[in-house]
Amino acid sequence: MRLDHGLMLMEGQKQQLNCSSRTRRNLVLRLAALAVVILLALPSSAAKFTTSLDRDRILLGETVTLTLSIEGATPTSMPQLPAIPGLQVAGGMTYGTSSSIGADGKAHTVTTFSVPLAATQTGEFQIPGFQLELAGQKLSSAPLRLTVLAEDASGPPAEFGQRAAFLWLVLPKKEFYIGETFVPELRLYVRPGVRNIGGFEPPTLQGEGLTASRWVSGGNYSRRVGDRQFTVVPMTCAATAVKTGPLKTGNLTASVVLNPPDVFERMWGRRADTEQVPLTLPPQDFRVLPLPANNVPPNFTGAVGNYTLNVAAGPTNVATGDPITIKVQISGRGTLSALTLPPNEWDGFKSYPPTAKTETTDALGIQGTKTFEQVVSAESVSIKEIPPLAFSFFDPEAKQYQTLIQPAFPLTVRPGGATVVPVIAANTTNPDAPQPPAQDIVHIKPRPGTLAQVSPPLIQQPWFIAAQTVPLLAWLVALAYRKRADSLAANPRLHRQRQVAQIIRAGLRELQRHADANDSDAFFATLVRLLQEQLGERLDCPASAITEAVIDEKLRPRGLAESSCAELHHLFQTCNLARYAPIKSSQQLAALVPRFETVVRELQNLKA
């Protein structure tokens, strides 16, 4: 049945399908609307067009969603949707856009159109590639395959229908080849009546000799188990067998909370119908076969899957030494990341390390294109062709090796010496233009530069860390100095005490100097001044007001020792006598200094 002849609007999954002219008109209207939306909504930029199905295996009566993804393009004509025999539109079209900033810093906008489809009969369906004219070029999507079954032979047994929730693992087959990538499906079945689920972390698919990617969720659907209709939460991953022999998947254990309470329900206690269900799934057996040892192509490098080869080379009219870029695109399904550039003998060419880029078109990353760019340069004018290129892989579906051959490209090589290198205008007018991809690494440096001893970074060197405390200490010292200055400013007596102590220290040195010089007048003048300063500070009165009388009037009542009072008297009297009978001996003057020091210490200890 053709899509444009047999599609009809489905009211729901349970509604039976039939064909009528009214539904055909609906389909045409929907497709026209789809085209108009695409025409109006899409921005003009680089074009990329892909299609996908949310499942590739359904039961008769179930729906599958066909998604058209268009990345940055302005179509100039209505997309020609191909006929899909045996499939009908089963619901309204949904439309959405998403924007993201790519690694190149540019915005990428993807527009998706989703159409639910339903099958009217069982069998294998091939959805042909879609044709779309975008940005002046015609793009087509890859064909898709859909299997419609009458019943789910790989589904759980009917007695599982009594469970509230359970896990079920579906392997697409029981025998794989080593290196073959396949897609296991992990299904979480949830009983009817469950509004929502929570606390479910899909268990990692493990097993000896098995590598698997993380699970990717698909769209939920309904499926009958026993006499109950369950909601199925499907997840798929990409798995690859890396060891031969009979193998098993690991135990899968998880848990799920049915009807988990929301924020408000948590405040008032758990819901009555909240239920935590443990989920366990026993191991599943499968067998991994080695690749056939017969008829192995000579250039086979281990690729397993189903691929096509597309090779382009240019320019093909070059001078010797000119770079020729050979672009090898390997498209298909398999472990794309493990694909390597087909080996080739570049006799007569200088070859550079190739670059590789992988673009996947599905969520699991197993379908897409890997592009290699190999730069070579002809070293002789005798070279007439770029050698043929062959890529071999093992096709697990066909169970045999396949070899794809790209014939040789004719090549014209001119002598390179006399060729004038053309000036590329774009490079002079647009310095911001993207540079062409590098074809080799930058050559080694001729000079060693500044040599240094291997040492840990500064931040790990103790001396450097210790040095960082210097400004902190400087600030702390300055802070202490400021506090001290403030403190002295607020306490005049303390200030004077410190000043006098300083004067005494300087005065003692002065006395010693006068004694050494035998300068009696200066010595006694200094001694009197120092005595007045010290006594004035202790008695909190001006130094000029100090006379010998204060000893008996003020110091003795304050508790100054008798011997100290006597010593003070002696010093004052000696000073008075010296005015009239100067002492000539330097030793005599020097002998007074320690006595003065002793008295001063006594005075400083006296309570002010």
Partner: protein, 249 residues
């Protein structure tokens, strides 16, 4: 006579030291040229060994690491080349040649690998020592201005705003320094240096394979146990591999 000799000792030491330094520098330059010659003769493994010997002797420069990376790359050792390039980039992060070659080498890596984030690229514009020097300079400036404000109260009003700005800059640079230490020092980064390394679910030879990493794949180290490293490729895939199968910066 002895006194006269003693007075000449410092000068003698200085002369001997200068002579030794110049001899060492000349010797290093000679070894560098020898290694370069091996490279030009396309004896890449021998050239790599010569560069390695220079580094082992304790002499380093970005150019030595860079040339070592080139020799490794030409020897087909992409992982070891990336390690060398990144070590060169740690010393001179803005060298366009290093950036070009590390990018070129990364483009050759197949399979899962970590790519530096925007944040890592931003903090990688300066080397760790440059970030450290800037932060230390700002710290010194801030505290010295605080000290001046204490010692010269009349300058407080005029210095307050400048000090606040210097403090803010210090804080910002300190955060950048910490982020650089966390993101770019390579302590938690491992580069696969062997072909088709099996990443296992546990730190045992008997553990099942989680995924495969190719030569040059950059992985983040999550944990260490004996001779094993727990790594992730930036997605949710986590596994263990032997230390001998990776290179670290």
């Amino acid at each position: 006579m002895i006194i006269r000799l003693k007075s000449f000792l410092p000068v003698l030491w200085l002369a001997v030291g200068t002579l030794a330094t110049s001899v060492t520098a000349a010797d290093t330059a000679q070894r560098f040229d020898t290694a370069n010659k091996l490279y030009e003769e396309r004896k890449f493994p021998e050239a790599a060994a010569a560069y390695e010997a220079m580094l082992t002797s304790g002499t380093t420069s970005p150019a030595v690491y860079f040339n070592l990376g080139n020799a490794r790359f030409k020897s087909g050792e992409i992982g070891r080349a990336i390690v060398a390039y990144r070590q060169a980039a740690q010393l001179t992060p803005r060298d366009p040649d290093i950036k070009a070659n590390v990018q070129f080498a990364r483009n050759q890596v197949q399979g899962p690998t970590l790519r530096p984030s925007r944040l890592q690229r931003a903090f990688g514009l300066l080397s760790l020592n440059e970030w450290t020097g800037l932060t230390a300079g700002a710290l010194w400036l801030t505290f010295l201005m605080l000290a001046v404000m204490q010692l010269r109260p009349v300058l407080r009003a005029s210095l307050r705003n400048v000090t606040l700005i210097a403090g803010g800059v210090t804080l910002f640079l300190g955060v950048c320094l910490l982020a650089t230490v966390q993101l770019n020092t390579g302590r938690d980064l491992a580069v696969v240096t062997a072909r088709d390394v099996l990443i296992r679910n546990g730190p045992l030879d008997e553990s099942q394979t989680s995924f495969t990493a190719n030569d040059g794949a950059e992985l983040r180290v999550l944990d260490r146990k004996d001779d094993w490293l727990q790594v992730t490729d930036g997605t949710r895939r986590v596994g263990w591999l032997k230390r001998s199968e990776v290179g670290t910066l």
